[in-house]
Symmetry: C2
Subunit: 140 residues, 2 copies
């Protein structure tokens, strides 16, 4: 079982040391990170695995306070798995909805890109009018 300094944990997780301390302060860790003889933090593999999950939840848009709620549930031990499942499933739905929305918006932006491409290809062939370029095309 290896352990890591906060600088190593930062390098591995991709977070800054400031953020790692901030997460711990803010109750996002399952328990306070262990300390070595000098009072320095020693991150365990379990800590890093947990931080990885936190990062995934954060990167998919879960607010800090909800990550903390989840951490609270895990910390309070066995017996609330159904609640944890609800929380994760709720988040999953939100993420899927967000993916669908972003994909839809991207489609409209793509059509806009198409307009510019057409226009640039047409340069020298016909005169340019700017009216079609101000909004998104009417098919949206």
């Amino acid at each position: 079982m290896s352990s890591y300094s906060i600088a190593e944990a930062a390098r591995i997780s991709g977070l800054t040391t400031h953020t790692l301390r901030y997460y711990e302060r803010d109750g996002l860790m399952l328990r306070p990170v262990e300390r070595g003889a000098t009072g320095h933090r020693r991150y365990s593999d379990t800590d890093l695995t947990w931080i990885d999950l936190v990062t995934r939840l954060r990167s998919t848009g879960m607010p800090i306070r909800e990550v903390r709620r989840y951490a609270d549930l895990v910390r309070s031990g066995a017996g609330n798995e159904a609640e944890r499942l609800d929380l994760l499933r709720g988040h999953r739905s939100a993420v899927l909805a967000q993916l669908a929305e972003v994909t839809d918006h991207l489609g409209a932006i793509d059509r806009k890109i198409g307009i510019y491409v057409d226009r640039l290809e047409a340069q020298g062939i016909g005169p340019l009018t700017s009216s079609a370029l101000e909004g998104v095309d009417s098919s949206s």
Copy 2:
């Protein structure tokens, strides 16, 4: 050619009146919105179409300042279509990267959900251990 009060524009766009004024103040509109006799804003269809594009750019994560850069380009008229295209294409790439990342993270979260489902289905069949529940599974 119809025109709309700020309240109507808010209802149509899904933004608040506060946000509509804020966008205008912040240089996100192509030009100041027209005013009626009483000094009240009158949004045109062109304005609403533009606001729709702004909303799509914002919803896909484009920062306000970059939307403003794009608005500046459109405002300055014809001749910079290539630059606009670059901006939109750059954004498109960023959005695709973000979609891929979120999808990947979601996969890891899904596996975690699977763990809870298995665990809940196994209730009464075997004893629970909590170790597997603290992190994401090792296949990530």
